[in-house]
Symmetry: C2
DNA sequence: CACGTTTTTTACTCTGCATGAAATTCGAGC
DNA sequence: GCTCGAATTTCATGCAGAGTAAAAAACGTG
């Protein structure tokens, strides 16, 4: 057994928390619901976490980290001599895949952060910056290579683009359209939209 | 006095509800908080609404309606012979202005709908369709006029664009950047992004 | 200014949910 | 198959927050 039963239960709880968080938001996340999804009795959660907030905190942290690392990894796997604009397209694809199918973690984290109580949000501010930072760098490279529309404020444009990606979790329904179609549309829009 | 004191109090309550809703989400919206923002005692709310859900319901309805009508009006005011792509830019501007400064209603409605309990969401489905419908029509016209990238699925592209606009409420901080800068970036991205 | 009506307040109740504590089951080593 | 610690459950507590009732205040109109 690669990891103990306990570790697996713990992970189930965190996964369940992300699942509920994504659908119900911060305030709407009840431990009883998390427990049900995780197939555990609610008080059992306290064996692993000392409070509801601590659990949510971890779920969000895992999600933010995953969002960042999956994009980073996808970029790392790409040929480094690829034009930045193409690498940006890869990042778009990786991000959407993570957000929409890989698990509820990333989506839950990204969509929940704004609702968190100030203290908790503060705690994740750095992780959020790191997440945006990967993109920021990418856009800077696009700019360096002269592929960015000169009239466009890089920082603002990036946030607009990230918004488009993040909001997909709100409306995309796997039953009604393929993931690839969404990725394709997003990539086209970003390419054309930023192009010089 | 154009409208009675009572009507104004009622409106204050709905406004306050939108305000709280926007920041705390559906489940996190406490009547005590709404009351505080509205400068009213919590039970006074029950004079106007028979339950918390009814209040939230109305706040969302007002918001969705406002989001739709402000864009419609801006379009109606534009010269009708303007190319559709330019009218789309006008819609982008009107939408962002509404969302970011006009009041909390539109933003609250748009961002909260996905969290609502199923029954309530159902009740607003039509309003949401109407809201998207205005845009859908606009994009169709752009397509008719041959200004839409042929490789782009119109419906999907529209949702991606709307996402970009809606998400601005999440990150835009009036203290750190001008509204016009955001509008400008969004318009450029949309124009370039959709262009044939 | 008196009287009915509208609006607001004060003082509750009731319920759902996070959390606590003790009791119980499980599972690895002997 | 017994024992001890880890994992989990069952039962109980306390509080926050929705909702109610009835009194009080404000308002408007003769």
């Amino acid at each position: 057994m690669r990891d103990t039963k306990s570790a697996r239960t713990r992970r189930r709880v965190v996964d369940a928390a992300a699942h509920v968080l994504l659908r119900r938001g911060y305030a709407g996340t009840r431990l009883s619901d998390v427990a049900e999804v995780a197939q555990v009795q609610a008080p059992a959660i306290y064996y692993y976490f000392s409070s509801r907030d601590e659990l949510i905190d971890e779920a969000v942290a895992v999600g933010l980290d995953r969002a960042r690392s999956l994009v980073s990894e996808a970029l790392a796997a790409a040929p480094p001599d690829l034009p930045a604009i193409d690498r940006l397209a890869i990042a778009v694809s990786a991000h959407l895949r993570t957000l929409l199918t890989h698990s509820d973690h990333a989506a839950a984290a990204i969509r929940t952060v704004p609702q968190l109580p100030e203290a908790m949000r503060e705690r994740h501010r750095q992780a959020q910056r790191d997440y945006v930072g990967v993109w920021r760098e990418l856009v800077a490279q696009v700019q360096d290579e002269g592929d960015l529309d000169a009239g466009l404020a890089a920082g603002t444009a990036l946030m607009v683009v990230l918004g488009a990606l993040n909001w997909t979790a709100e409306w995309w329904d796997p039953a009604r359209g393929s993931l690839d179609a969404v990725i394709d549309a997003a990539q086209r829009l970003v390419r054309q939209g930023l192009a010089a």
